[in-house]
């Protein structure tokens, strides 16, 4: 059964234009309160169906190995996959252009109105929702991991190292990543 869920039917080769990439990543960016991965997954897999769950996690995984914001790296690679260099540029422009303006606008607003306590209270409630969205994303993404102890082993260690022990991410990755890659290589 797990193999069925794993080998999701390959999506038909969608043709996606630069403008569509710009719009998609603008939407992702402008709805991303408290982290972009939830919205990237919702938009690219559920709404537009440009990627399967597995393709999404794999691209995100590569993005995580590279320096910089993970979803920005995802935007570059998704844009490049569908429309080459200009596609990547369009995705990045959509993903970073708006938040740049919005964050400065919020800075100006905050300097004027930030003292009001109800603003702080509203932000507190929204932060709790943001945490829930991230948790829900993990639960959905976890469905692509094969039901074998070897796969889960490394995932659990990564969670304990970073989430429980609070060790620096770089150390945890340096310790786990080579073994995980070798294991996947050998046992596939």
């Amino acid at each position: 059964m797990s193999d069925q869920t794993l080998q999701q039917q390959k999506l038909p080769n969608t043709s996606v234009t630069q403008l569509q990439l710009f719009i998609a990543f603008s939407r992702i960016s402008l709805s991303s309160f408290g982290g972009a991965i939830f919205w990237a997954r919702r938009e690219l897999i559920e709404r537009l169906r440009w990627l399967t769950e597995r393709e999404f996690v794999e691209i995100y995984t590569i993005g995580q190995l590279l320096p910089g914001p993970n979803v920005l790296n995802l935007a570059v690679m998704v844009g490049y996959r569908f429309a080459g260099w200009s596609g990547a540029a369009s995705a990045v422009a959509g993903f970073l252009g708006w938040p740049c303006l919005v964050v400065v606008g919020m800075g100006i607003l905050y300097q004027n109105y930030g003292g009001f306590s109800y603003v702080q209270q509203a932000l507190g409630g929204m932060a709790s929702v943001a945490a829930g969205l991230l948790l829900a994303t993990v639960i959905k993404l976890a469905a692509v991991v094969p039901r074998q102890w070897r796969s889960w082993f490394f995932g659990v260690l990564a969670f304990i190292g970073v989430g429980v022990m609070r060790w620096p991410l770089l150390w945890v990755m340096a310790a786990l990543a080579p073994w995980a890659v070798i294991a996947a290589w050998k046992y596939e």
Binding site: F33, G35, G68, V71, F95, M126, V129, A130, S151
Partner: protein, 175 residues
């Protein structure tokens, strides 16, 4: 505040972003050290304020560096702190993305994609639990978080409504 060397700021941020493997949170302590502790460009309180604002603004969480630039030197500052964030993504990521599309069956890429996917999921789970513990100060905060999870997994509603609900709960003093 008038003695800011934007060139040095740009260079420092550029170096840091190339080290930000795994995401922006890895270099957060170093940015804090540079801006607050070493060069006294911002106070610790201003820094915290900027960070919180950027967290709740739409867009990637890394945008707090943009706001730092704005606080320091207006639009010129925005350029000096934001462009460095783009450089690794537009060079290194582009190159790796290109190779991955070109040689999808190379053993190294297969191994990375298959082997590291569970680690990625473990890391996102770690972020989620850290975030949950940071933002929730009592059981009511956790309640909102868990209701969010339940709704997202069961209903196709647009989660922006959940944010509206969360904001309302906050204003009414529930959190």
């Amino acid at each position: 505040m008038d003695g800011i060397n934007l060139g040095a700021l740009f260079l420092q941020f550029l170096i840091l972003w190339f080290l930000a493997i795994g995401g922006p949170s890895t270099i957060f302590p170093d940015i804090h050290r540079y801006v607050v502790e070493v060069h006294h460009l911002l106070t610790g309180e201003q820094f915290a304020e900027i960070y919180t604002l950027a967290q709740v603004a739409p867009g990637p969480n890394a945008m707090y560096v943009t706001l730092i630039g704005w606080y320091l030197a207006g639009w010129k500052g925005v350029v000096a702190t934001t462009v460095p964030l783009l450089v690794p993504a537009t060079t290194l990521t582009m190159l790796v993305g290109h190779l991955n599309e070109r040689y999808p069956d190379a053993p190294l890429f297969r191994g990375i994609r298959r082997g590291l996917t569970p680690i990625t999921i473990g890391l996102v789970l770690a972020s989620a639990t850290i975030l949950m513990r940071t933002v929730n100060h009592n059981w009511r905060g956790y309640f909102i978080t868990l209701v969010t999870v339940a709704v997202v997994l069961r209903k196709p509603w647009n989660p922006l409504w959940l944010f509206a609900g969360g904001a309302l709960a906050g204003v009414l003093g529930f959190v």
